[in-house]
Amino acid sequence: MELCDRNIAELRTLLDSKELSSVELTRYYLNRIEKIDAQIDSYITVCADEAIQAAKKADERIAKGQAKALTGIPISIKDNMCIEGIRTTCGSKMLESFIPPYSATVIHKLLNEQAVILGKTSMDEFAMGGSTQTSYYKKTKNPHDLTRVPGGSSGGSAAAVAARLSAISLGSDTGGSIRQPAAFCGITGMKPTYGSVSRFGLIAFGSSLDQIGPMAHSAKECATILNTIGGYDCNDGTSSRQEIDFESLLGKDIKGMIVALPKEFFEEGIDKEVRESVLAAAKKYEEMGVCIEEVSMPSLKYAIAAYYLLSSAEASSNLSRYDGIKFGYCMPHAKTYKERIERTRREGFGDEVKRRILLGTYALSSGYYDAYYKKALYIREKIKEEYNKIFERCDVMLTPTAPTVAFKRGAIENDPVKMYLADICTVTVNIAGLPGISTTCGYDKDNMPIGMSIIGKAFDDAKVIQVADAFEKDFIRKAPSL
């Protein structure tokens, strides 16, 4: 078995038994990146020297017998999480030269365990997109078919894990940005409950929706990562004090659970092969002793509109700070403040980012606030209510992760409305702040992975992981041939 096919529990055993050193493992991954990433374009920045240094420290810790779950494990980080002293671009020209003087809380937690950070992965600019083709740097390819997109916005992380260019990765999810690329690349990705992982140091897109989460080869690995990166953080005012043991329900029987199948998620717009694959997975769950129950979420038809209003409104405000004064790109020859800020933003932001800033600014403007932003808030409450109702009876909900498998590069990413509509299966989870995990449930005729999502009520993250893990146990994934 190749080293890169080992899961992190197996790597842990190899490292702790000294059969393998973290430095060897890190060199192995750095070599793979050097050999393979030219085809995939998953990394914006590779931190080879820092990684080797970190691996050495990890080996020292392992030698003392003080290893933690992720000590010495190579991990990649989406390039919107700040690491002190390492360029953090957010996929944008605007932050081409930005080297943060602080690290995100999740980075501190990883480094406290001596995890080995290999580098920063590509993403849609400011996490706005579902293709990783709006990145100013690397337009990442899908390892299963290089002519297709890896999904997004955490496409670099998904592709890096799928192509075995890092053992595991951290992504962020505002409307599906972890789960959809996980589905497209045939891996597992989870957006935990809002507030369960600190957002400090994550460059904001839609603050009330953003969550950092793990991307890996299994739900079990995701649970391990979450136990490291999760927990209350006094630097994030929305951080929750409720403790979650993400691994607590792993391996426990799911018999007798009620799994909700919301009919609106299986109607028109969902590709036939995707629908059939997810329904087949539902059948499998039934065989495991789970009760499948059809439910309804009538507000789903408003979800995309509400999501794009809420996320763009918050983004328009969050991205106002990029004015060329304190950090990042600055148009050098401006004569006035107005000229500087206008040209900095014109030249520093890409089209999709500008589109969202305009949309969000409009939605918040006086005279339009009530018609757009306020209505979106109302829909948000409606969706929460509908979820609450479903979870009064049901344990989890099962949906497709995306309406289609990964699409061809250049097919729809220049059509914003089509791109937005493709988020239909994932956005409600962010709107309601719930945990959602995407795992591969099948492959289409072209051997492209199909993803399904398990959604739970807030803080039921362990249960969501348990249900995904139960499916993954008997499912054999196909590795991309590179």
């Binding site: 953090t88 904001a204 005012g237 405000s317 700070r321 918040l364």
Partner: protein
């Protein structure tokens, strides 16, 4: 002019007295090298998050209690969006429609007597930075030290109708906040600022006139001048039939005039929305109860004490009470020397003169209560004369020496050597024979003249009482 009534409302920004800023752990302190009192959070760096300092909420609740406000049990934080180079995130974290403090009221004593000014609401927010314009280099530099300094914005109803009432209101609010221990309210350091909203209403009209907002008011003096100027400007426009433009005007301190900054059309659309990074503030009955127990004696209670128990007149009591630092000092002094009126009088006339001239600060007086009590006592007991007592105070400020030491050094101590006085008195009586004769013939006023001559020769160092007794004795002999 009299046919128009000014309608004035104020927005007071008071800096709340906390150790650290409102959303980060930077220390709050006045001054400091540019951009040394800021961090990635208050400078709005990517990925950083604001965390609400609970001390700010406590201060706001206490302020609300002092201002007679209703405390909002559910209050939320909002973003106010606008681009300006001193605002690092391009939004100010503030409160829009659910402030910590709801309606309240304060009583003032203005030029038209006692009046109640209603407070619309008071909300918490962060301060912005400061721009320094360099006309020679033709550049502007940003200093972010003040970014994130906690402020309470107190919005009054338009209940004032003169510059004097506005002044009385600001003094009252500032006193109340100082007493509540939530703000130092030092205008000269920017910890108290005010914007003025003003319109004129025709005496017979029911509806209000067009409102103008005046910004950039840095001292009480400029507030009063700006209001007076604006009343005059608007009156002129109205009497000549010209329209008043709804706009924001800026006060030019050098020229003493207000100039247009931006009109209503150019007004910002702040695109307020709920701050997603900060959860709403829930204030319980217990929180309010606990904080109200922590509230120190309030201004009205001291007013009662001074007028009822100490027998001060209302005007003096008001002046002493207005500034907490002064009132605390007064209390300390009368503990040592309980001559309530004399101490009050000395403070009102002498100390406040130096405070108003900015030579000393009311809450950092350069002498102790003991020293000041001794000085008042020396003056009252004619150990030094009144004028010399004033001179001693000046030297106490300058040299920080004790009053007795100064009196000795300067030779201000009263001379009780009756022989010397007697000598002087008899020489005066023998020199001013005409006046003496006049006095003896019934021109009583001339006694004052003779007293004056004696005092002059004794260089003010003799107790007037003693001079009087001796002079009277001498004159009686001549009858």
């Amino acid at each position: 002019m009299s046919s128009y009534i000014p309608v004035i409302g104020l927005e007071i920004h008071a800096q709340l007295l906390t150790q650290t800023k409102i959303f980060c752990s930077c220390e709050v302190d006045f001054g400091g090298e540019q951009n040394t009192r800021c961090c990635p959070v208050c400078a709005g760096f990517p990925g950083t998050l604001p965390v609400l300092n609970q001390e700010v909420v406590k201060c706001a609740i206490k302020a609300g209690l002092a201002l007679g406000c209703e405390i909002n049990r559910y209050s939320k934080i909002d973003r106010k969006n606008y681009f300006y180079p001193d605002l690092p995130k391009a939004y100010q974290i503030s409160q829009f429609d659910s402030p910590v403090c709801l309606s309240g009221k304060v009583k003032i004593e203005g030029d038209k007597g006692e009046k109640e000014i209603r407070i619309h609401h008071a909300h918490i927010e962060e301060d912005a930075g400061k721009l320094i314009h360099d006309d020679i280099e033709n550049t502007s530099l940003a200093d972010y030290n003040r970014c994130g300094v906690p402020l309470l914005e107190i919005v009054s109803e338009p209940d004032m109708s003169s510059a004097e009432e506005a002044r009385a209101y600001i003094e009252k609010v500032s006193g109340l906040l100082q007493y509540a221990g939530v703000s130092l309210c030092r205008m000269e350091e920017g910890s108290l600022r005010a914007d003025v909203n003003i319109s004129l209403k025709h005496a017979d009209a029911k509806e209000l006139g067009t409102k103008v907002e005046i910004k950039n008011l840095n001292s009480m003096k400029s507030i009063v001048r700006a209001i007076d100027y604006e009343i005059e400007r608007q009156t002129k426009l109205l009497t000549t039939g010209e329209p008043i433009v709804q706009e924001t005007r800026k006060f030019n301190d050098n020229r003493g005039v207000t100039v247009s900054m931006r009109s209503k059309e150019d007004a910002h659309d702040y695109r307020y929305f709920k701050e997603p990074d900060i959860i709403p503030v829930i204030i319980t009955e217990e929180d309010i109860e606990k904080l109200s127990k922590e509230m120190p004696v309030l201004i009205d209670e001291r007013m009662q004490l001074y007028t009822k128990e100490y027998g001060l007149n209302k005007a003096d009591a008001q002046i002493v009470v207005n500034e907490k630092g002064i009132s605390d000092f007064y209390n300390d002094v009368v503990m040592i020397y309980p001559n309530y009126k004399a101490v009050a009088n000395f403070i009102v006339v002498e100390i406040l003169r130096y405070v108003n001239e900015g030579e000393i600060q009311s809450n950092h007086l350069p002498f102790s209560a003991e020293a000041f009590a001794t000085l008042v006592k020396m003056s009252e007991e004619d150990i030094v004369n009144k004028n010399n007592a004033k001179a001693i105070l000046k030297l106490m400020i300058e040299s920080q020496k004790g009053p007795m030491e100064i009196a000795k050094e300067q030779g201000y101590l009263m001379n009780d050597n009756t022989d010397e006085i007697k000598e002087v008195v008899s020489s005066v009586v023998s020199e001013f024979t005409e006046e003496v004769t006049g006095y003896l013939a019934g021109k009583e006023k001339l006694f004052g003249f003779l007293m004056g001559q004696c005092s002059k020769r004794l260089a003010g160092r003799a107790n007037p009482k003693t001079i009087k007794e001796i002079l009277e004795g001498e004159l009686t002999k001549l009858r």
